[in-house]
Symmetry: C2
Subunit: 295 residues, 2 copies
Amino acid sequence: MAREFDLVDWIRSRQPCSALVPVPAGDDMAVLKWPPEQLLLVGVDQVLDTVHFDSAVHAPRDIGRKAMNRNLSDCAAMACLPVAAVAAVALKQGSSLEYAQELYLGMQDAAAAFGAVVVGGDTGSWRGNLVMTVTILGRSAEVQPVRRRGARPGDGLYVTGALGGSLLGRHMTFVPRVAEGRVLGRCGSVTAMIDLSDGLSRDLLHLCKASEVGAVVDAASVPVHPDAVELSRRDGKRAIEHALHDGEDYELLFTSRSAPPIGKRIGTISAERSLLIEIDGRQTPLEAGGWEHEL
Amino acid sequence: MAREFDLVDWIRSRQPCSALVPVPAGDDMAVLKWPPEQLLLVGVDQVLDTVHFDSAVHAPRDIGRKAMNRNLSDCAAMACLPVAAVAAVALKQGSSLEYAQELYLGMQDAAAAFGAVVVGGDTGSWRGNLVMTVTILGRSAEVQPVRRRGARPGDGLYVTGALGGSLLGRHMTFVPRVAEGRVLGRCGSVTAMIDLSDGLSRDLLHLCKASEVGAVVDAASVPVHPDAVELSRRDGKRAIEHALHDGEDYELLFTSRSAPPIGKRIGTISAERSLLIEIDGRQTPLEAGGWEHEL
């Protein structure tokens, strides 16, 4: 079975260079020189019924909101300003007009919170389950995009908020860190950034791989969300495990040469290309245990 | 059951006006002032297994190509130059890396034929069937976008090629009329345009509704594709019925004040807001019999 990241590597290897695309694929969004002296950022993200939400449980407005917010979180990771979005929706056959409207209103609400507008779309219905795909356009607007590559040995490693247990509900209701992304992009010391969708351990691996570095995470410094504590009560796993490996936190993970204006330090970038976790003074390998999309 | 066009009407009614979006929703693509003195066009289109293709029958490269070509056909309809695309793919669980690569290569081939590049994407897998969603970015590049609205009584009605019977295979292998769209946009006499995806009778209804006009189609002038003749042999319907109502021709339907450089005249725009078909000198109502996406 193929894994998503094999495919991404393969696509990257085939991407033609051009005056239009100054940054090769592999970041949270594509970066285009459009017009030549400015940057246009484009991201696309789909949510699938039973994978990213459950249409039997979640209200359509919440589903629409999540579909948009995942894209806004990509904007946050690239420190860009979301401007416009288009959406494609594959509805379950027999869905009502009201249901489709609720999906749209959820997207519109989420976009409007950051001044972006839904400018177009495509709807269809089929025998399958609900699929929503949102494409977002962002402007760099005087803040250079922050990429996954750029972290250097000695940089501090930071997160914008507490992690773990988002499955208890936060994965549907999170607020994308667009404002935080802009602050971090503007401050001048942030060297690399990614949003936490696959889980801290796995997204850290992506960032370190792109930057050709390693990292040491200090377990005691990782901010553990109350939801992770609650989940640990239910399933017996330690709360820190949830904070390290659960997906869909949608906080920003970033590296910085000096103390950034926001964020909690959780570790340090190293020259050795391995991920380590330090617990009570002892370092052991940090396995990427988050969510990898299996093809 | 809701119909797609009810939803589009409703979305249009909610769309905020802005300096960014000079043209309200409802055309084949959204038009943005980006940068303010130029136009950026954005379109999105999804293809669904068992609706737009059949993964049990069609090769992944052909499916990828169709997903891209439908978007390029939207560019053709707006007379813009396709530049860049992003794609989201929901794969059937257990799909191989090779299968995903073939989908991508099909998209890349189709885009490259018109100088456009695939700059980013999102892949995931689920228990459902294959979904591919492509978002295309186009530039007006010194040709004003041609919209659905703009047709005036007395304008001639034209198509770029023969119609009907595309289900025999052309719906997978068509060449989008990007070059023709540019020629027509540039010539100065074309007043409205749409690509034929839902069928001549239905897409003509969209164009006339947007332009607040009607039309008289001369049945004898409609170019009937050999596939429509073949299909009529098989199903007993007349070939002209296939030409009038079958979907997925992906030719351009347009109106022009004077003889355009390309295209075959098939009728005339009228002030009366009805669609009529003239057969042997007799005019009868032309029912929109094409494919309406049922929600």
